[in-house]
Amino acid sequence: MALQQNNLLGLEYLDKKEIELILETARPFKSLFTRSIKKVPTLRGKTVVNLFYEPSTRTRTSFEIAAKRLSADVVNVAVSTSSVVKGESLIDTGKTLEAMKADFMIIRHGMAGAPAVLARNVHASVINAGDGFHEHPTQGLLDLYTIREKKKRIAGLKVLLVGDILHSRVAKSNIWGLMKMGAEIRVSGPPTLIPPTISDLGVKIYYDLDEALAGVDVVNILRIQVERQQENLFPSVHEYIELYQMTKERVARAKPDVMIMHPGPMNRGIEISSEVADSPSAVIYEQVTNGIAVRMAVLYLLSGNVR
């Protein structure tokens, strides 16, 4: 079995079987990590380009390590020092990398749809590493992987996403993925950060976090961008902390075996207290480890389709 598309642009475009395939494929890759030689020759001779238009440490490093553990050659294009600052368009940059025979282009971009534009203009497999407020599919997949690894299932679990849903590509990919896998999804945050149309996707909206937490199996806390305050989306960081910070007291409202997730980077003391971030319920660093396995699976499965 293989993926139906040459690219990974979002979890909206994958079906349940494809998501399961990726999660299953990631498992043996993860078991490599405890060996002394963590590398397999699967993608030997393939070229992977990381094209990051926005700053990123963890996602870029994770893709780089994933590709290297598959024996691919990896090139990082740091956009601030590239020809983009000379005015080169995304499409021309893509075509230039294509002329260098890149097999994969992994793109992080501040504008929604940029990976789709790139994919339309190159033959290489395009992997979306986060585009604007649209999707961050590999983050969604690694979150699914982590939930399934711990809870042994996804269907029927109550999963709560907290924070800035409106501007979060992580939330979007989580919602598509969790929905397809049969979880029950709640979101919580102020109305200014939750588009009401999100309920069209089958998500339940709670403005009151304490109410939202009742009986949940998984809490995924999103990073809040402090600059949003200037757009009047919330009155102050102080008030945000008051209403939405994940504290030990709040966590107690969830199920006793609740899992606490965060895609990082964390604002300790704002959306999450250190006490919660460092508690045994938190799986934040396991998410990072799993990210490499999931990205290896995605690269491997797409390589079957490289033209």
Binding site: E12, S89, L90, I91, H109, M111, A112, G113, A114, A116, V117, D131, G132, F133, H134, E135, R169, K172, P195, T197, I198, D200, L201
Partner: protein
């Protein structure tokens, strides 16, 4: 040489005429309309099975000259119009430099006489440089030939300035065309706000950003008695506001464009930038309301908002691509396909909204009808012909259309401006 159009179905809403007539044209004017006209020494166009109507008047286009000739010129834009059955266009003043002064307006008029193939009437700016602060010299602009004023694309955000514009233009009987958008509410938005924008992760433009300004401008028209013409209405709320204003006898008229009665925001999926225009494509309910507004007369005119942009400008990230689509060549086909064939409007009402109504609202003498003595601007339409436009088929310099390969009915077969056949070149035979 005289021109005789024989055997067609003449639809001239201004004269309440609809039937089988011949039309005789001489010296650029309609000489005679009759059941059977025999005339020697003239060029004859056989219009059997065709509709003969007043040439279409498109009151909202962007010709881009001067300043952006890579997108469109007066020469190419007027040819695109001729191809679409449009014999008169109003061009918006957001050129570079803008049409906020008489010499700029005269440049467009003279260039159109020299290089254009259809009639071009410029629209002047409301404010200097369309900056929304100081009124442009509207009286001087009127003398230079503008048919209306508008800061299209740069809505006048200051209510006091808009009030003065509606007040001051009264003495010239010049309509103020308002692009209704609350820029603070629509800031950074690139498509309609709703389910699709949420799924795509694109910033939304709520319907209310249009409706708030429609509402404000109607109130200012009520305050001043000035003539407000609302550009490119796209929402159900705007239609309702104009409907109520007309009931209250406020001096307001309104237009919409084919894309607002044909497409909904879901077509933005896949981030095709030829679906990006301002106002944006809305929901199915809005499309239905626009059709209702057309049917009950709330919306007076159909126009294109023809906004050419090059491939280089459009083929990029959705956020970076400019707003706007071309429309001159597809307007008639979309009106026939979406309104006439779907029984929203009959032929006479549809043609009125693209000829008689704009001529009346903007005071064009001797145009928009086929009465004897009127200027012979005529379109001959094949109502049954099905066709599509491929990306390379447009006469316009640009090809930024969401209607590429869209199935159309109702083909503008022959376009006549001032008695001369301007599209296609070889129509008719000498007799």
């Amino acid at each position: 040489m005289k021109l005789l159009i024989k055997n067609g179905r003449v639809i001239d809403p201004a004269a309440k005429r609809d039937g089988a007539f011949d039309v005789l044209v001489s010296e650029g004017k309609i000489e005679k309309i009759g059941e059977k006209i025999d005339e020697r020494d003239c060029r004859v166009v056989d219009a059997k099975g065709k509709i003969v109507a007043p040439g279409l008047i498109d009151i909202h286009t962007h010709l881009r000259e001067p300043g952006h000739e890579e997108e469109e010129t007066i020469a190419s834009g007027t040819r695109a119009a001729a191809r679409g059955g449009v014999t008169t266009i109003f061009c918006m003043p957001n050129t570079h430099p803008p049409l906020d002064n008489a010499p700029a307006v005269e440049f467009v008029t003279l260039k159109a006489k020299k290089e254009g193939v259809v009639n071009v009437f410029p629209i002047g700016c409301i404010t200097k440089n369309s900056a929304g602060e100081e009124l442009a010299e509207i009286g001087v602009l009127k003398k230079a030939g503008v048919v209306a004023v508008s800061d299209d694309g740069n809505p006048v955000m200051n209510s006091q300035v808009m009030r003065r514009a509606l007040e001051y233009t009264k003495m010239f009987k010049l309509p103020v065309i308002a692009h209704c958008e609350d820029k603070n509410l629509s800031r950074n938005g690139v498509m309609n706000e709703g389910h699709t924008s949420m799924v795509l992760g694109l910033r939304g433009i709520p319907r209310q950003s249009e409706e708030i300004m429609v509402s404000r401008d109607i109130m200012l028209a009520e305050l001043t008695g000035g003539h407000l013409h609302i550009a490119h209405m796209s929402t159900s709320g705007s239609v309702e506001l104009v409907r109520q204003a007309k009931k209250r006898k406020i001096n307001v008229t309104a237009e919409t464009c084919p894309h607002y009665f044909t497409l909904i925001d879901e077509v933005v999926k896949k981030y095709n930038t030829n679906t990006k225009m301002n106002p944006p494509l809305r929901r199915a309910q809005d499309v239905a309301a626009i059709k209702e507004g057309l049917a009950d007369g709330t919306i007076d005119c159909i126009c294109t908002d023809h906004a050419p942009h090059t491939e280089e400008e459009k083929n990029k990230e959705y956020d970076l691509a400019p707003f706007g689509i071309i429309g001159l060549e597809t307007m008639l086909g979309l009106v026939v396909t979406e309104l006439i064939e779907k029984k929203v409007l009959n032929w006479a009402d549809a043609i009125s909204k693209m000829s008689a109504n704009p001529a009346r609202i903007f005071g064009l003498e001797g145009r928009g009808n086929l009465k004897p003595g009127s200027i012979a601007d005529i379109v001959i339409i094949d109502p049954k012909r099905s066709y599509t436009f491929g990306a390379n088929d447009f006469v316009s310099k640009s090809r930024n259309s969401p209607f590429t390969d869209f199935p159309l009915r109702g083909f503008p077969e022959t376009t006549i401006v001032g008695g001369a056949i301007v599209w296609p070149r070889n129509a008719g035979t000498n007799h």
